[in-house]
Each structure stands twice: as C-alpha cells, then as structure tokens.
C-alpha cells in the first residue's frame, strides 16, 4: 500500500493569557491509501487538534505548531503557503465535523452550499453543478434528492445533515476523509446508518478515512488500525483486532474495562479509572497517565515513555509490560 500521509513529531501549543496549553506533544502516525485509521481519546486528548494542525485550520495565534512535519506525497503540509493549502483542502483531503447543525450555513439552501464547492473547486457551470449535487445527495442516501436541493438546513434532520456534510466532503473525490466525531451528536440508530454509509463509500471510492472518536465501540467494526491518544500523546497503536484482544497500554486496558457491554449479562462492578485527565497548562514531565495508572513505577513520574514496538506492528508508550507488570 502506498503511504498517503505521514506525520512526524507534531507539537501544537496554544498561548493563552493563563499560560501555555500543551495540546499535542510529539504525535507521529501514518495512513496508507484506502486505509481506515481510528483515533480514539477523551475530550482534550489532542485528537482533533492534531488533525486541525495538519490541515492548518487552527487560528495562529493563539495556536502555534512548534515542530513537526506532515508529509503528503513529497510535500510538507506544515510548510505550504496558505494558497497551496486552500487548493489542497477539500480537494485532496476533506473533513467532516462533529456538529452538522453548526457546520452548515442556516441561511443558504442545501443546493447552494453543495454547488458552491463544486463550482469553486472544480470550476463547474451552474447546471452541471446542480446535476452533480443531486447525484451526490443520492449517493449519500437522501431520498427525493432533486426536490430537496432547495431546502434549508433546518428542514433536514440531524442524520440527514450529516449525510449532506459527507456529500460535500466527497464532491472532489478526496483521497483522504477526516471525520471528526461524525456520529457523536446522533442517535444510535442513525449512527449505525452513517457508519454503514461511510464504509460503503470508502470501499466504492477507495478513499482513506481517519475517524476521530471517543467511543471504542464504534470503531471496532469500522477501522483497520486504531491509535489511542491521551493528553496530547499517542499512547498505543495497533491493528484493530490486536488492540481489543491484547491492549498493551494501561490506559487502553482501563478504558476497555470501564465499558459495559450491551451483549453480556452484568458480571461485576465497572472498573473505573480514578482521578481525571491532567491539566494541559503544565508542561508534561513524565507519563501523562501515571497519576491514574495502577501499574505506575517511579520512572513513569519523571521520564516520558516513547512509543515502542511490543510485537509486530503493535506499539505502546509505557515503561511497564502490562502483561507481566514488570518494568521494560
């Protein structure tokens, strides 16, 4: 498989009056053509900021990309001019955001918003664009698409708006779709519809997908690889089956144990993770999970563990081998 995007040692900070927020602290990952990578983590773990940094969508200031590279083919996205970036965004890499209510302009019709990107990016004429817009809406499963082009966003339900967002993202045949919590605001039956839709489109269009989520359940049936983030660090990365069957970072282990299962009878109390995620205003010195970790040893408190191989392509950032409890 050909490498599509490779990010190396990305660091993003926000300078605010209260100090510096250490949002992304040396994130490296890659994604190949047609692959689906899930990025899992809680709010504030840096999963969205990582993607926004790569697409250069963060306002600077307060954001500042301190270091890193994001290789897209032979170009480094972090060093492209704003014009070059504009050419690339939407055309080669498209993004779908969490909230389909606020991502659409409420005073423009769906048709106008869809045709706009077709006309700007692809230089289509009015009629061609309208024709293509109908095709796109049909592709994402909007019934009676031709008649619904003239509707405004409020006339669409949440699930349908998310379908429109996906249609907009697809309009230029991007090779990478970044979906930032696309189903979090949706009900579970609608979530299942959207997941199925993205799977279908991904396979049809041979498109790579980065799916950002806090829900370990959703990605299990969707992703090929999973990357777990915590406090701005990648703490574990593995093929999907390996991650769920053999988690090697204490945080992943704890998250999986904290999830109840819809398909199983209750057999125990939930295992909760004590404490709360760390304050990002403090520069990280040791492993960010150490204060909440049951495996933590002295070393964890003052030395940041690097992401290292734990077998095959499976990597984890931990000073302790969680299978034995012994230091590495």
């Amino acid at each position: 498989m050909t490498m599509l995007l490779q990010t190396i040692d990305l660091k993003t900070r926000f300078r605010i009056p209260e100090g510096t927020i250490y949002a992304v602290n040396g994130v490296s990952f890659h994604i190949s053509e047609g692959e689906t990578l899930a990025v899992v983590g809680e709010s504030g773990c840096g999963k969205s900021v990582t993607m926004m940094s790569i697409l250069r969508l963060l306002p600077t200031p307060p954001a500042e990309i301190v270091s890193g590279r994001a290789l897209w083919g032979n170009r480094d996205l972090l060093r492209l001019s704003e014009n070059e970036m504009e050419q690339l965004r939407g055309r080669e890499i498209a993004m779908v955001f969490q909230d389909p209510m606020t991502s659409l302009n409420p005073v423009l019709t769906i048709g106008r918003q869809l045709t706009e990107s077709l006309r700007v990016h692809l230089g289509m004429g009015k009629e061609d664009a309208a024709q293509r817009a109908v095709e796109l809406l049909e592709q994402v499963g909007i019934p009676d698409a031709a008649h619904r082009l003239g509707d405004y966003p409020h006339q669409y339900s949440g699930g349908m708006r998310q379908r429109v967002m996906i249609a907009m993202a697809l309009c230029c045949h991007p090779s990478l779709l970044i979906a930032d919590e696309p189903t979090t605001a949706l009900d579970v039956t609608i979530q299942a519809q959207i997941v199925e839709l993205v799977k279908k489109l991904r396979d049809q269009l041979h498109m790579a997908v980065i799916w950002i989520t806090h829900d370990l359940g959703v990605v299990a049936g969707l992703a090929q690889r999973v990357m777990v983030m915590y406090a701005g660090f990648v703490v574990e990365e593995a093929l999907v089956d390996d991650l769920y069957e053999d988690p090697r970072h204490p945080y992943t282990l704890a998250l999986l144990a904290a999830l109840p299962r819809v398909d199983r009878r209750r057999d125990r109390r939930l295992k909760s993770i004590p404490g709360a995620p760390p304050n990002l205003l403090v520069e990280p010195r040791g492993c960010p999970f150490a204060p909440r970790c049951e495996f933590a040893i002295e070393r964890c408190r003052f030395e940041i563990p690097p992401l290292q191989p734990v077998g095959g392509t499976h990597t984890a950032a931990c000073w302790v081998d969680v299978t034995t409890g012994a230091p590495r």
Partner: protein, 332 residues
C-alpha cells in the same frame, strides 16, 4: 438491590400524558397544534429498584421524568410517589413529595448556579425543606454529603466553574441527596461525561443506592450502561412505551422490532464480534411528534409492518411474566 420489598410500588404512573402547545403569531398567539411528547404511558417503580427509561432523542423520556415529578404540569394522568398523589398535592404536601423525590440533571454545566458556592448549592434543599435550621449544622452536613460523593470538604467555598464535568455531576448528586430522598430521577447523568469518568459516576450511584436503599428512574440513551445499572428497562418511541421487561429478559429476548433494531445498532467493543453481527438498520428518521403516524407509531420504519399496523394502535399487553410489549406482530 433491596431485600425488603413491600407490596406497594414506590412510584405508580398511570396514563400519563404531556402535550406542549405549538403556537403561531407574534403578538396574538394562536395554538396551531401540539407536540405529544408523552402520550399515555403507565409503569411502576418498585422500592429499591432501578428502572431504565431508554429511547432516542425526542422520544419523550426526559419529559416523562420531569412531568412525573410535577416539574411540568401534566396534560392528564395520575402519579403517586410513596402513596401520595403528586398532581393533587398543594403546599405542604407538595413540599413533602419534593423532599422525597429528587432529580439529577444531564448537563452538569447548566444545572448548577454559577454564582453560588458549593456550600450554597448543596445546602439549598436543606434550607427549603427546613431540614437543619442551624447554619453551622448545615455546613457540617454539606461536608458529609461531599465526602459521600467523593469530594473534599475543603471545596465548599469554591464555585462551579472551578470543577470538572465529573466533579460537577458529583455536586449535583450531593444536592439531590441533601433532602434524604427515597426516589431520584437520574436524567442522562453520564452522557455529558468522558468515558473514563462515566464508570466513576455509575459506581457512585450504585454505592449510594446500596447504602441508602434509593430507588432510581435512570433515563439514558446509552443502552450498554442501562443494561449494567438497571433492574428493569422500559423502551420509549415517539411518546409511548413500546416494551418493558426485566433487564436480561429484554436484552436477550427483545420482542418489539424497535427494541431489536435499537439493540442491534449499539456497537460492541470487540472487532470480531462486531463484524460478525447481524445488524438491523432502520431506514429514515423518527417522525415528528406533532403529527405522529396513525396506528402503530413505529410502522413507517418497521420491517415487519403489515396492513393492520397502519390503522390500529397495538394493545399494551403482558406476553411473559413482567415482559410487556405493544406490537401486533409479536405472538404470545
């Protein structure tokens, strides 16, 4: 949870309806329709049990929870809590009911007054219900309550914005406990919290139930968590309850096609199982509760719907002991 189980349920809800008017016109408002948020639901909550009320957004579960506490006046129906008629009660009687029945809200950011200290927030129910007239004793009790929910007593003079979401939810729980309630409506208490914090709050709610013999109505859309915490579960769709049963019976043998679709849509955090699963994916969205479909409300999305479902609303009936369902196509 409780071994003692008197015959009389703690909460009895009979034919509860709550319609909200839809108006038009800016100055002279005319009623042009109504949103049937809750449209004739009946259930009981036994002492010491946790009843789950699940459904998708807009199904009326939150409205049901608020209406049964008389936070909204009902359109019609009858509710008793610990033998007292909630809607007939006035003055002192209503206050007594409010003391016994408390609520924990979904949004821990909007449900605490940002200008009040933790002490003022948690002691308010005690002031309202004249539980401890002495302010010093009240302050001591606030510290006790905070300790119960796992917060330090030193935090009493802080303001809500100084706390994280999980801590705020703990403050909300401490406030609900301040009046020594029997019954707590937990309205999506964990859905605004991060995954690693959800388990903490659920375990806390379970510990408090064991300790004080509390009865919960647990309103949620997270079906996995509901299976974990509830003894019985009621499934709502478009203002009505379509199925109700004991937890494992309902999850292992769901009868109503909506319950089956809902359960099959819940992702399982295991890739092999999730891929192997037979999914029942519903088409379309939930219809508007302003003009709910005639007959069975689920028929436009139901894969089993037959002619009869378009006209005749199904009867609410018991198909196995304690397992109730409203569907024409379920036998038994």
């Amino acid at each position: 949870m409780n071994t003692m189980k008197p015959a009389e349920p703690l909460v009895v809800v009979q034919n509860l309806k709550k319609y909200f008017p839809v108006t038009s016109g800016l100055v002279f408002q005319r009623k042009t329709g109504e949103v049937r948020a809750v449209d004739d639901i009946s259930f009981t909550v036994e002492r010491g049990e946790t009843l789950g009320l699940v459904g998708e957004s807009g199904c009326g579960k939150t409205t049901a929870g608020r209406t049964l506490l008389a936070l909204y006046p009902p359109t019609s129906g009858h509710v008793t809590i610990d033998g007292m008629d909630v809607y007939a009660a006035r003055g002192r009687d209503l206050l007594a009911i409010r003391r016994k029945a408390q609520i924990i809200f979904q949004d821990p950011y909007a449900s605490l007054n940002p200008r009040w200290t933790v002490d003022a927030i948690v002691s308010e129910p005690m002031r309202v219900h004249s539980i401890l007239p002495d302010s010093k004793a009240r302050s001591e009790r606030v510290k006790e309550l905070l300790a119960l929910v796992g917060l330090s007593g030193r935090l009493v003079n802080r303001f809500p914005h100084e706390f994280s979401g999980g801590q705020r939810q703990r403050i909300g729980i401490a406030r609900a406990l301040a009046s020594d309630p029997l019954f707590i409506v937990c309205d999506e208490p964990i859905s605004a919290l991060d995954v690693s914090i959800q388990a903490q709050v659920v375990n806390l709610l379970e510990d408090l139930q064991d300790r004080f013999g509390l009865t919960y109505l647990f309103i949620a859309h997270n079906l996995s968590m509901v299976r974990h915490i509830c003894d019985r579960v009621a499934v709502m769709y478009l203002g009505i309850i379509v199925e109700l049963g004991e937890r494992d019976e309902l999850y292992d043998h769901p009868l109503h096609p909506y319950t089956r679709a809902l359960l099959s849509a819940v992702p399982i955090p295991n890739p092999k199982q999730d891929r192997a699963r037979q999914r029942m994916i519903l088409s379309g969205d939930v219809p508007s509760p302003i003009n709910p479909p005639p007959g069975c409300r689920f028929h436009p999305r139901c894969p089993l719907a037959v002619e009869r479902c378009h006209q005749e609303p199904p009867v609410w009936r018991e198909v196995a002991t304690g397992h109730w369902v409203a569907c024409h196509e379920v036998s038994g």
